[in-house]
């Protein structure tokens, strides 16, 4: 187990290094970025940038110092709002985005798994077809389309929910629905197909031959094995939800990091784009690592190097 974690940890560090280096190289080599100080911006800003990125020094030194600033979690200043640092923006926006993301994940997993399990248990019956039809729609409709439809129908036309912002639980319902539908559909389909496969396994037959109650067979023997693949795609789903927050926060005017990020892209506020990208990448990569570890804990077969072993 320790070896497994160690290997994953190493992979994580390498991936982080690649994304940081990629960011640096892109910013340095592309004309028009603040690193090539050809374009005259506000002098105070320029001074700020030069101080933070050590633009007067050779690239290699810049790179080392940049790495150092990343490791110490210092993402530097913003160009467009010189009074703010990227850290301050993250501090304000990220908790809200995180809240939106976490609620979305919980909703998506709970409803997706439930839907998938019911569809599998009622295989080739009405419930199965309805659930899977719903899931295919959920995968096909992009979240921004769904978000707009929800606003127009449920917030503008019949005024059940507030149109925008992030103030109360009522404000959360529409953005979370818009963001959770896609991942929920993916989870439902995956749960259904793995569940169907697991249900034909010999150990399920064995459990039935033992005379176990059906719900026990499903909860104890089938579900746990059926959820393994769902755990493995959690990383991808998290990435999807995280990038989804950019769009959803923009549409629902939620003051999270996603909204700042989109604004910074529109204004070409390079330090903010860089800082946020690196921060979000790091966040996702760490999440991916945690998912891997969780998988190792859930599946005893991963612990190949533990004592005992094969006889």
């Amino acid at each position: 187990m320790l070896r497994y974690i160690g290997k994953r940890l190493l992979m994580m560090v390498i991936t982080l290094w690649v994304i940081v280096t990629l960011t640096f190289i892109l910013m340095v080599t592309i004309p028009g970025s603040p690193f090539n100080s050809e374009r005259g911006t506000n002098e105070a800003v320029q001074a700020n940038l030069e101080a933070h990125y050590n633009l007067d020094k050779p690239y290699i030194v810049q790179y080392v110092l940049y790495l150092k600033s990343i490791v110490t979690f210092d993402f530097g200043p913003s160009i467009k709002q010189p009074s703010q640092t990227v850290n301050e923006m993250l501090g304000r926006g990220f908790p809200i985005s995180f809240e939106l993301g976490i609620i979305t994940i919980i909703v998506a997993v709970l409803s997706g798994v439930t839907l998938g399990v019911f569809a599998a248990l009622k295989h080739n019956q009405i419930i199965d077809y309805v659930a899977m039809g719903f899931a295919v729609l959920g995968i096909s409709i992009p979240n921004f389309v769904l978000a707009t439809l929800l606003i127009q129908q449920l917030a503008v036309n019949i005024e059940w929910f507030p149109v925008a912002r992030w103030l109360s639980p009522a404000h959360m319902i529409l953005p979370v629905t818009a963001l959770a539908t896609g991942p929920m559909a993916i989870i439902a389909r995956l749960t259904r197909s793995t569940m169907l496969e697991v249900l034909t396994q010999d150990y399920i037959k064995m459990a039935r031959a033992k005379g176990l109650a059906p719900w026990k067979i499903i909860c104890k023997h089938a579900l746990r094995n059926a959820l393994m693949p769902v755990v493995t795609i959690m990383g991808t789903l998290l990435a999807g939800i995280l990038t989804g927050t950019f769009v959803i926060e923009k549409i629902f005017a939620v003051p999270g990091m996603g909204k700042y990020f989109v604004e910074s892209i529109n204004q070409r506020d390079y330090p903010v784009i860089m800082g946020t990208t690196v921060f979000y990448s790091a966040f996702l990569i760490v999440m991916l690592f945690l998912v891997d570890i969780a998988y190792g804990i859930l599946d005893p077969r991963i612990k190949l190097h533990k004592k005992g072993g094969r006889e």
């Binding site: 690649v18 994304i19 729609l137 992009p142 707009t148 990435a239 892209i265």
Partner: protein
């Protein structure tokens, strides 16, 4: 010896005496019949095609995509309106016999723009799938074919790239390169090929296994035929499915980028750009400006997804019965 006359089948009771004596004669043996398999064997592709035809949902998807392609090619040519010509007096006309899908904020015909957008969106999707396929085949093929240390090095690189957050890298690249048709396709494929490479490598490893078996049996000239008839179909299946599913995810990614202002820029108008431009309009009641591009994005994604599912079922040799 006691002869007990019972009947196990539960059919009409019979007894020894009811059977005519002449039936007790040797039956002529048909040795050929022993060797024939009871079910006719269809070629792999025919069989897969037959099963795909049976899948109504997948066929709906396929027919939709064919129609979409035809319309995308011909509709803009036949339309009397120009894609980008603004005509402000005609702003926000609801759908009518003149403007089938209505007009947008610039008074442009949404029908024409939708089909024009189909060209862009399909082009982006197909190019992304094609480039992923090409790089994936070369990289995955090389990795699987070489094996050993080369393979494990190449797989390490894949693992790192796979860990990178796809859309964030795409955003970063587009911010730096500036959005255009070419850079969007480039950005979408720069890490997008990784999934394909993994699949190809797995399939190549499988073929290598077969080859070993084949060589040891020295089939000689028949080898090529066996590879073509048995191995290629089995290995092409997952690759075709992966390509089918790459197209909608590229279309979705392009639409997503439009929302960040990183989509295709004027004078082109992809569905994503059209939908993004119309977000405000829908609140003022001009639903058609969003509805048509959004509908086509959704239905195209739907069509590719169900087609991919159908192909997966049809091409999976394990399900062959």
């Amino acid at each position: 010896m006691k002869i007990n006359v019972t009947d196990q089948t539960g059919k009409k009771p019979t007894s020894h005496t009811e059977i005519p004596d002449e039936w007790f004669s040797w039956k002529e043996r048909d040795t050929k019949a022993l060797e024939t398999v009871s079910r006719p064997s269809l070629s792999y592709w025919k069989d897969a095609w037959r099963r795909l035809l049976k899948n109504k949902l997948a066929m709906t998807g396929l027919v939709f995509l064919i129609l979409l392609t035809i319309f995308a090619i011909f509709a803009p040519i036949l339309s009397p309106y120009e894609v980008n010509k603004q005509n402000l007096p005609d702003q926000y006309q609801p759908p009518s016999s003149q403007h089938w899908f209505g007009t947008d904020n610039g008074g442009r015909d949404v029908f024409t723009r939708t089909w024009y957008g189909a060209r862009i969106s399909l082009f982006v999707g197909l190019m992304a799938a094609l480039i992923d396929f090409t790089i994936g085949i070369i990289y995955g093929g090389l990795s699987g074919y070489k094996g050993g240390r080369t393979d494990s090095m190449m797989m390490r690189i894949i693992e790192v790239l796979y860990g990178l957050p796809y859309l964030l890298v795409v955003i970063l690249l587009l911010v730096v390169l500036g959005p255009s048709l070419g850079t969007i396709i480039l950005a979408l494929t720069v890490t997008g090929w990784v999934g394909m490479a993994r699949i190809v490598r797995g399939q190549v490893l499988q073929i290598k296994n077969y080859e070993f078996v084949l060589a040891s049996r020295s089939f000689g000239a028949k080898t090529a035929r066996i590879i073509r008839k048995n191995l290629l179909p089995n290995t092409m299946g997952p690759i075709i499915v992966q390509m089918t599913l790459t197209v909608p995810s590229a279309i979705f990614a392009e639409a997503f980028l439009s929302f960040l202002g990183l989509g295709i820029q004027a004078p082109f108008a992809s569905w994503g750009v059209m939908a993004n431009d119309s977000l405000g309009a829908i609140l003022s009641g001009h639903w058609w400006t969003l509805f048509f591009p959004a509908f086509f994005i959704s239905f195209t994604m739907f069509a590719f997804n169900v087609l991919g599912d159908g192909l997966q079922d049809a091409l999976d040799p394990k399900l062959r019965k």
